[in-house]
């Protein structure tokens, strides 16, 4: 089974259409999709608008490949059951989502080697072919990282202290710095001139 899901909130026609075309091309008859009221009606596989959480889990369990939008729920569900997953991020420009956060999600999980990403629909077929050659056996733990569990626990016990992180406060200083440069006109002009001289002096 290849289980396709776009989450419960809104349709994602670009993904459903691309999977439909791929299924026709490859002659697959083992695709099932949850399409959330897509306006595009798939011609080459069975589908439903919504599935209950328990049924969702059963479908992911049965699947040997999951295809999804780059939603955290879909990604973690597949990884908890050790299934390979191909994701395509929803894009704000096509009104598929309010912003492009799924692009970042897809990139992050791809770098970690957890998902195969098809950034756009014309790349989906190739990524699906590739993903079908992959066998993921490692399941992620059903629990959050020990670090996060410990942080919450220590807060509940009254002993939470923020970790030393690379707290980047530069963005808060950015504005005053620009204003200062504007006031110190001579100095900043000189600096720019020097920079220009330095860069033009570099061998091409």
């Amino acid at each position: 089974l290849i289980f396709v899901t776009v989450g419960s909130k809104r349709p994602f026609d670009r993904l459903i259409r691309a999977v439909d075309e791929w299924a026709a091309l490859r002659g697959r008859s083992d695709v099932f999709a949850q399409i959330a009221n897509a306006t595009y009606v798939p011609k080459h596989f069975q589908f439903t608008n919504f599935v209950e959480p328990s049924e969702f889990k059963r479908l992911v369990q049965q699947a040997h490949l999951v295809v999804a939008h780059a939603g955290i729920g879909s990604i973690i569900s597949a990884l908890e059951l050790g299934k390979p997953i191909v994701v395509m991020p929803r894009r704000a420009q096509f009104r598929e989502q309010v912003n492009d956060h799924q692009v970042s999600t897809a990139k992050h999980f791809e770098v970690k080697g957890h998902v195969v990403v098809a950034p756009e629909e014309h790349m989906l077929a190739e990524r699906l072919d590739y993903a079908l050659t992959q066998v993921y056996s490692e399941r992620i733990s059903p629990d959050a990282s020990p670090q996060l569990i410990a942080a919450i626990r220590s807060f509940l016990d009254g002993s939470f202290t923020p970790m030393a992180t690379n707290v980047n406060e530069n963005h808060q200083e950015a504005e005053p710095r620009v204003a200062e440069e504007g006031r110190g006109q001579l100095g900043s002009t000189d600096r720019r001139r020097n920079d220009a001289a330095a860069s033009s002096g570099r061998p091409g």
Partner: protein, 154 residues
């Protein structure tokens, strides 16, 4: 004197999909607490059969009337349950849970969704002022005054 309750109570709140899945992953941190769940799908009840459970109607920033109804519902739930701790992974339902939890004296925890990589969510930003523990799952989004970084659900 009021006798102390034998077991402390946590109200665990999340909207659908990824928020709910992330909430379930942090539940081990609440060991020893009685946990009451609030989410948006009635069908999620089967995933936490041992616990008391509320399904509320979700809303977002484009649905003002929905938000008002959701706020009223969350206020009633928090007042009825009187939790010691309110914890949420987002989004709107969690924001209101923290707002009223804070108001009614609970300790409040916000864990911004791991999906918010580039910036904090709107609900996460707003929830910050009602959160006693305000966490992002991305170190690069942490700030000295919060949100803090405390690890990730994954």
């Amino acid at each position: 004197m009021i006798a102390p309750r034998a077991q402390k109570k946590a109200l665990a709140v999340a909207s659908s999909g990824g928020h709910w899945i992330q909430l379930l992953r942090i539940i081990p941190a609440l060991e020893g607490y009685e946990i009451v769940f609030v989410t948006v799908f009635e069908s999620s009840r089967s995933e936490v059969p041992e616990n008391r459970f509320y399904a509320v109607k979700d809303a977002n920033r484009w649905n003002k009337f929905g938000l008002i109804a959701l706020a009223a519902r969350m206020a009633r739930i928090v007042r009825k349950e009187k939790p010691d701790v309110v914890i949420s992974t987002g989004a709107a339902a969690g924001y209101f849970a923290l707002l009223f939890g804070h108001l009614f004296g609970a300790r409040t925890i916000w864990i911004d969704s791991i999906a918010n990589i580039d910036r904090l969510s709107l609900s996460g930003l707003l929830a910050g002022r009602h959160a006693d523990l305000w966490l992002t799952q991305w170190a690069h989004l942490a700030r000295a005054k919060g949100p803090h970084y405390g690890g990730a659900v994954f």
